[in-house]
Amino acid sequence: MPTELIYPIAMLAGFGLALGIGLAIAAKVFAVEVDPRVEAIEKLLPGANCGGCGFPGCSGYAEAMVLAGASPSLCPAIKAPEQKKVGEVLGVVVEERAPMMAVIRCAGKVSPENFKYDYMGEPDCATAVLLAGGPNPCRYGCLGMGSCVKACPFGAMTLRPDLPPIVDPEKCVACGKCVSACPKALITLMPVDRQIIVMCSSLDKGKPVKDLCAVGCIACGLCAKKCPETAITMERNLPVIDYAKCTSCGTCAEVCPQNSILDKNRKTVAAGV
């Protein structure tokens, strides 16, 4: 075997051996033990990394549950069967949590016809709000450009012409992404089974509201007076319902002259949310 054959073979084989062993040792020395339970749980979680549980994504939450004992019921997006399995893996009983959903507290008409200026910019609420509080004449009203719709990782919200977006209770997991996305802070998380909701966030009183919006609350206070359980108090020109006392009788929705209060049993809000 002439030398010009031996040298290359020896060189490369030598490198191969050294590097092969080096990598094998490195894989052993630097092996990072991953707790099998973390992987098991991570597979059960929805994997949308929505952050509703307060941890950085599902893998962060899984690690927190296994290593730091975080409560398994924080995940808003998980379906009941998976949640039970996570409990089993952790060996912890998982108490049921009342399903929540996002609600947009505005039912006013949102259309370019009654905008106070011609908005030609980026179709996004967060951008539109920079221009004199957005094109909607009502300073507190929804801009209807779907920042919340874009923010929702579960596609639970859909835009509608002339009305604020509609929320699909099935898909909505109350992860709260839309709450922070809405520049007018109209969205709050409420139990899905809540009947009576005040569908307006305007802090103005009387005439200014009446001129701009057919269903805006004019802070007349009738609902507070008429409520049999005195569950409603007027704060900053808006009725605030104490849901502990409220029996969802619906009188407030009936008496409200502007139909600003939604009663899901009888769908009183004029805009038919």
Binding site: F15, L19, G22, A26
Partner: protein, 192 residues
């Protein structure tokens, strides 16, 4: 000596920028430049690996391949070293700095198949650089690569908002943007 350093580093960053003039490392350049955060992460990984790989390959060439007169084995020896080096670095980072690995880790295997790393190893040897020149060239080239990557990432983030003809969306517009970027970089030619 000082002038030589400046010429080499500035030349590698601006004049024959690794991506925009020499076409090395386009796969990650297109793949990872969606967000500036990723681009910087990838850039750091590339700088780290490029310098390490350049030094390792230079030593191998001048102390193993040339004495044994087997220069034709350069490519295979270099790529074997680079692949093992990257895998080794990946293991080390995964153990030593899990947080860093989380942000940087996914890019490391990408670097093994990165033409820029092998490209610079071969160029250092072809240009007959000394060890210091090799390190300088590696620094310049990787910084140039990162700069081009971050520049493109910045532009691409704005492109998300621009209205582009549907058939040009995605990769085509990225190449066209890189083309314009390359034209801009042509302004530096002849500077060094």
């Amino acid at each position: 000596m000082m002038n030589d350093i400046v010429v080499l580093v500035i030349g590698a960053i601006f004049v024959n920028n690794f991506v925009l003039a020499r076409f090395l490392g386009i796969c990650p350049f297109v793949g990872v430049s969606k967000r500036v955060g990723d681009a910087v992460g990838m850039g750091m990984a590339v700088i780290f690996v490029m310098i390490l790989a350049s030094v390792a390959s230079w030593l191998t060439f001048f102390y193993v391949l040339t004495p044994l007169k087997i220069e034709y084995m350069t490519t295979i020896a270099f790529i074997l070293i680079i692949a093992s080096l990257v895998q080794f670095v990946e293991n080390v980072i995964k153990k030593m700095a899990p947080a860093l690995y989380k942000s940087l880790g996914i890019y490391l295997p990408l670097i093994t198949t990165n033409c820029a790393v092998l490209g610079i190893a071969l160029l250092n040897v072809q240009n007959g650089y000394t060890l210091t020149q090799t390190v300088l060239h590696a620094v310049g080239a990787s910084v140039g690569f990162t700069m081009a990557l971050v520049l493109l990432a910045g532009i691409r983030e704005r492109l998300e908002r621009a209205d582009i003809p549907p058939s040009l969306k995605g990769a085509p517009i990225t190449f066209i943007t890189s083309g314009l970027l390359a034209i801009a970089f042509m302004g530096f030619i002849g500077m060094v």
